[in-house]
C-alpha cells in the first residue's frame, strides 16, 4: 500500500477525466511491473512473504525506478499459486516460492530473460507457455470481470482510475436519465448472478416505481455455496468495480442509501471494500452531490454472522435491520417492501460488477455475448477432481465439456468423469450425458439443476452419488434457518433416509418416500432454500438411480466409498510384504511381517482407506470390495510370491 496524498475532491466529469489523465501521464508504460496475487488463495501459499522479499530485493538492487511491485487481486488459477505476471511482457509465473525472488529480479527484470522453470507446463501436452493468455486454462476464458484483477492493486483508486474506472458512473449520471439506464440494463439482458437469474433491469424498475420515502440498494456478498468463491475474489480484487456498479444502480432506482452485506468469513473483502469506500468518499465519488450531479449516496459494509441462509433476499434484509437473518414471507417483493418496509433492490456482487461494463460499452455489446436467454459472461469456481482448479469466466453458452476438459484440463489422474455439481446445495448433479449442455440459466434448469451463483464441483468415478446427496442434505440440515416445517423436518427425515441407504439399511420403498417428501418441500417451504433443498437428491435419483438401487438391493456401493458397504482386502498373490500398509494403519488392523503376506483383521479395520492409498502402485495389492463377502485371510505365515 502506498502512502497517499490527501485526495482532492472531484466535482465534475471533466475533473475526473483530468485526474485520470494526470495519473496516466505520470505512468511510464514501459516500466516493469511485477503483479503478484495477494488474494486469499495465494495468501495461504505465503504470498505476503514473497511480496516482502520482492520489495527488499528491489531496494537492495536499487531498482525502485525500474520496477513496480504491485499486490493484486486473484487471477483465478489458484491451484498454481503463488501467481505473478511480469508486465509489460505479460510473462506468467506460477508456483512461485521465496527462493525464486532474487532470480526473477536479476534475470527477468534486469536481463529480460524468461525463467523456464516457473512457466506453466500443460500436463496433457507437455507444452510450456510463457504468456498468461496462452495457458489453456486462460485461453478459452473471456475474462471481462476477472481480467482486471491482475492489473490493479485493489487498495489503489488510482489503479482503478487508470484502467478507466468510474467512467461509467460519470457517463450514467451526467448523460443518462435513470429511466434510460434501467432501459439499457433491461435491453442488455443482464440476469441476476446470485442464483435465481431474475432480470436485473426489471427488478430495478420495480424498485424505482415502488413508493417509499427512502430506497435502498444492496450488494449481496454472502456467497455460501460449498467450494464457491467468485464473489470473494471480485470483491477482494476489484472492490471499486462493485462500488461503481452499485452507484449506477442506486442512481437509476433512486436509492440514497446502500449496504454491502459481506459474509463473516471474508475479512479481506471487508477490508478492501472499506478502503475503497473511504477513497471514493474522499474523491467525491460517494457522499453528497456526487460529481456535482446532485445525486447523493452513502454506503455501509454490513458483516454477516456466519449463516448460509442469510444470503436469501428477505433474510439479508432482516439481518441488515439488526434482526436474526432468517427469511420471511415475500409475497410482496423486497423490491417493493424490503428494509424497514421500504423498496430495496438487492443484487449479487457479480451482477453489480457487470453494470459499469454495460454502461461503458452498451447493451448491444453485452447482448452479443452469450445465448438467447442468458447474456454476458459467468464466473464459475471450478473445483473438485479436475486438473486445473480455480476461477473461470466464460461466455454463457459454453458447454460443460468445454469448461471441464478445455479449461479444467480433464479429470485428475486420468480417472473417469462421473458428475458435475452446479448451483450449490440448491442445484443438481449432472452426469456424462449432459456434458454437451450449453451453460445458461434455462438449459441447466431444464436438466433439474441450476446456474446458482457459480459453484462447479467435478466428481470422478470414486465419488458415491448417494453420499454426495447426503452431504448436501446434511449441509442444509445445519444451514437451513429451521423456521418452516417442510424444510426443517423434511431435511431431517431425508438425511436419515440417505444415511440409512449409505449404511446398508435402505429399503426399496425409500425411493418413493424421498420423492414424496421432496415434493412437499418444493411445494410448501417458506423460501427458496427449502423449495430447492431436495434438488441434489432428486437429480442424483434421476441420473444415478442405479447407484441407489445397488445400495438398497445389493448392499453394494458402486464407487466403493460408503464405509458400511465396503471392505478392504489384501490380495495375497500381489502383496510383497513391504510393511508400508502395516506401519501406516492407524487401527493396527494389519497383520504380517517381513516376507510374510499381510492381511487385514476385519474386526479391527475402521475402513479409513489409508492402506489403499499407501500401497505402492506397482503392487496395487490392497483392493476395495463392495457387495460381496471379503475372502478369508491366507493361512498364517504365508510367504510372499514376489519380493518388495
Amino acid at each position: 500500500m502506498q502512502v497517499r496524498k490527501q485526495a482532492r475532491r472531484i466535482n465534475s466529469t471533466a475533473e475526473l477525466e483530468a485526474l485520470r489523465k494526470s495519473i496516466l501521464d505520470a505512468r511510464d508504460p514501459k516500466r516493469s511491473i511485477i503483479a503478484l496475487c495477494v488474494g486469499t488463495g495465494c495468501l495461504a501459499y505465503g504470498c505476503m512473504d514473497i511480496l516482502g522479499a520482492f520489495k527488499r530485493e528491489v531496494a537492495v538492487q536499487g531498482l525502485q525506478d525500474t520496477v513496480e511491485i504491485r499486490a493484486t487481486g486473484c487471477p483465478g488459477f489458484c491451484e498454481r499459486g503463488t501467481l505473478l505476471t511480469v508486465y509489460p511482457q505479460g510473462i506468467f509465473y506460477q508456483r512461485v516460492k521465496m527462493e525464486d525472488v532474487p532470480e526473477i529480479i536479476s534475470e527477468t527484470i534486469v536481463k529480460g530473460k524468461v525463467i523456464k522453470r516457473l512457466l506453466y507446463v500443460d500436463p496433457n501436452t507437455g507444452e510450456q507457455h510463457t504468456r498468461e493468455a496462452d495457458v489453456p486454462f486462460y485461453k478459452k476464458q473471456q475474462r471481462l470481470l476477472l481480467g482486471s484483477n491482475s492489473r490493479i492493486d485493489p487498495t489503489s483508486i488510482e489503479d482503478y482510475l487508470a484502467i478507466g474506472g468510474y467512467a461509467a458512473l460519470a457517463k450514467a449520471i451526467s448523460q443518462m436519465k435513470p429511466e434510460q439506464i434501467i432501459e439499457e440494463i433491461k435491453r442488455s439482458g443482464l440476469r441476476g448472478r446470485g442464483g435465481g437469474g431474475f432480470p436485473a433491469g426489471k427488478k430495478w424498475e420495480e424498485t424505482r416505481n415502488a413508493h417509499g420515502h427512502r430506497k435502498y440498494a444492496i450488494v449481496n456478498c454472502d456467497e455460501g455455496d460449498p467450494g464457491a468463491y467468485m464473489d470473494r475474489s471480485l470483491t477482494e480484487g476489484n472492490p471499486h468495480a462493485v462500488l461503481e456498479g452499485l452507484l449506477i444502480g442506486a442512481y437509476a432506482i433512486g436509492a440514497s442509501e446502500g449496504f454491502i452485506y459481506v459474509r463473516q468469513e471474508y475479512p479481506l473483502a471487508c477490508e478492501n471494500l472499506n478502503i475503497a469506500i473511504g477513497q471514493a468518499r474522499e474523491h467525491g465519488l460517494l457522499g453528497d452531490n456526487i460529481l456535482g450531479s446532485g445525486f447523493s449516496f452513502t454506503v455501509k459494509v454490513h458483516r454477516g454472522a456466519g449463516a448460509f441462509v442469510s444470503g436469501e433476499s428477505s433474510a439479508i434484509m432482516s439481518a441488515i435491520e439488526g434482526k436474526v437473518g432468517e427469511p420471511r414471507m415475500k409475497y410482496v417483493h423486497t423490491a417493493v417492501s424490503g428494509i424497514k418496509g421500504q423498496p430495496s433492490n438487492l443484487n449479487n456482487v457479480e451482477t453489480w460488477a457487470n453494470v459499469p461494463l454495460i454502461i461503458n460499452k452498451g447493451a448491444d455489446w453485452f447482448r452479443s455475448i452469450g445465448t438467447e436467454g442468458s447474456k454476458g459472461t459467468k464466473i464459475f469456481s471450478l473445483v473438485g477432481k479436475v486438473n486445473n482448479t480455480g476461477l473461470v469466466e466464460i461466455p454463457m453458452g459454453m458447454t460443460l465439456r468445454e469448461i471441464i476438459y478445455g479449461i479444467g484440463g480433464g479429470i485428475l489422474k486420468g480417472k473417469r468423469f462421473k458428475g458435475v455439481q452446479t448451483g450449490g446445495p440448491s442445484g443438481g448433479i449432472l452426469p456424462e450425458q449432459c456434458l454437451d449442455t450449453p451453460v445458461d440459466f434455462d438449459e441447466l434448469a431444464k436438466l433439474g439443476s441450476m446456474m446458482g451463483s457459480g459453484g462447479m464441483v467435478v466428481m470422478d468415478e470414486d465419488t458415491c452419488m448417494v453420499d454426495v446427496a447426503r452431504y448436501f442434505v446434511d449441509f442444509l440440515c445445519e444451514e437451513s434457518c429451521g423456521k418452516c416445517i417442510p424444510c426443517r423436518e423434511g431435511l431431517r427425515v431425508l438425511r436419515q433416509i440417505l444415511t440409512d441407504i449409505c449404511e446398508g439399511r435402505g429399503k426399496p420403498e425409500d425411493i418413493a418416500l424421498i420423492q414424496e417428501i421432496a415434493e412437499v418441500m418444493a411445494d410448501a417451504s417458506l423460501c427458496a432454500l427449502g423449495t430447492t433443498a431436495a434438488n441434489p437428491v432428486l437429480t442424483t435419483l434421476r441420473y444415478f438411480g442405479d447407484e441407489y438401487e445397488a445400495h438398497i438391493k445389493e448392499k453394494r456401493c458402486p464407487a466403493k466409498f460408503c464405509k458400511n458397504l465396503t471392505s478392504y482386502y489384501i490380495d495375497p498373490d500381489k502383496c510383497s510384504a513391504c510393511l508400508i500398509c502395516l506401519r501406516n494403519c492407524p487401527a493396527s488392523a494389519i497383520v504380517g511381517d517381513k516376507g510374510i503376506v499381510h492381511w487385514i483383521d476385519q474386526g479391527k479395520c475402521t475402513k479409513c482407506g489409508i492402506c489403499f492409498e499407501v500401497c505402492p502402485e506397482r503392487f496395487s495389492a490392497v483392493v476395495r470390495i463392495s457387495g460381496e463377502p471379503t475372502p478369508p485371510p491366507p493361512p498364517p505365515g504365508t510367504k510372499v510370491k514376489r519380493e518388495g
Binding site: M329, Y331, G482, K483, C484, P486, R488, V520, A524
Partner: protein, 211 residues
C-alpha cells in the same frame, strides 16, 4: 381504504379489504383454513405451512401460505385439493415426532392429523429422536415480543437444532406475573416444564449443551 376486493374462495365470491390476507378474508367469510402458527394478534409468520392453499391467477396455479398472501382482485383460491391435502398430511407426519407428548398429539394438531389421515408415527422409528414437544410455531416467542414486549423467550440454534429457550435474566423478572405463553403454547410444553420461577429450558442449558 373504502375499496373492496372480490376474490373467489372455494367457488364462493368473497369480499375483502385491501391489505387483508387470504386467511383473514376466508375466516371472515366463514371459510375455515387450518393453521398452527397463526394468531390474529400477531404478524403473519408462515412457519407451519398448514394453511397452504392453491392460488390461481391469470391461469397459473401455485401453492401459497394463506396467512401471508395478500388478497388480489380476481384471485381464485382452493382451500382443499389433493395437492393441498397431501401437503397438510405430510407436514403433520413430519412434525409429529418432534411435537408429540408421550407418543400422542393433543389439541388442534390431533384433530388435523385425524382429518387428513396423517400417520403420526410414520417417521418415529426411523428418526429415533426424542420429542421436544414443540412444533416451533413461534407463538410463544412472538406473543412475548409483539404482545407483551418482554422478549423473555426466543429461538436459538439453526436448522434441525432450532429450539425455544427462556432468557433467565429477563424471564425471572416478567414471567411470574405474565405466563401468557403458557396458555398460548399448543402442545402445553411451556406450562408443563416451566413455572413463573423456574424455566425448564434456558439459554444457559443451551450454551452448556444440555438441550
Amino acid at each position: 381504504m373504502g375499496d373492496t376486493i372480490t376474490l373467489k374462495i372455494d367457488g364462493q365470491e368473497v369480499r375483502a379489504r385491501p391489505g387483508m390476507t387470504v386467511l383473514e378474508a376466508a375466516r371472515e367469510a366463514g371459510i375455515e383454513i387450518p393453521a398452527l402458527c397463526h394468531h390474529e394478534k400477531m404478524t403473519p409468520y408462515g412457519a407451519c405451512r398448514i394453511c397452504s392453499v392453491e392460488a390461481e391467477m391469470d391461469g397459473k396455479t401455485k401453492i401459497v401460505a394463506s396467512c401471508g398472501y395478500p388478497v388480489e382482485p380476481g384471485l381464485v383460491i382452493r382451500t382443499r385439493s389433493p395437492r393441498v391435502d397431501r401437503i397438510r398430511k405430510t407436514v403433520i407426519e413430519l412434525v409429529s415426532p418432534q411435537a408429540n407428548t408421550d407418543g400422542d398429539l393433543g389439541g388442534d394438531l390431533k384433530k388435523l392429523a385425524d382429518e387428513y389421515g396423517a400417520d403420526i408415527h410414520r417417521f418415529e422409528a426411523r428418526l429415533q429422536s426424542k420429542s421436544r414437544r414443540c412444533t416451533l410455531c413461534g407463538l410463544c416467542v412472538r406473543y412475548c415480543d409483539e404482545v407483551v414486549g418482554a422478549h423473555a423467550i426466543g429461538f436459538v440454534g439453526r436448522g434441525i437444532d432450532r429450539h425455544v429457550v427462556f432468557f433467565p435474566d429477563k424471564a425471572s423478572k416478567v414471567c411470574a406475573s405474565c405466563q401468557g405463553c403458557f396458555k398460548i403454547c399448543p402442545t402445553g410444553k411451556i406450562g408443563a416444564e416451566a413455572d413463573g420461577t423456574y424455566f425448564g429450558f434456558t439459554i444457559d442449558d443451551f450454551l452448556a449443551g444440555r438441550l
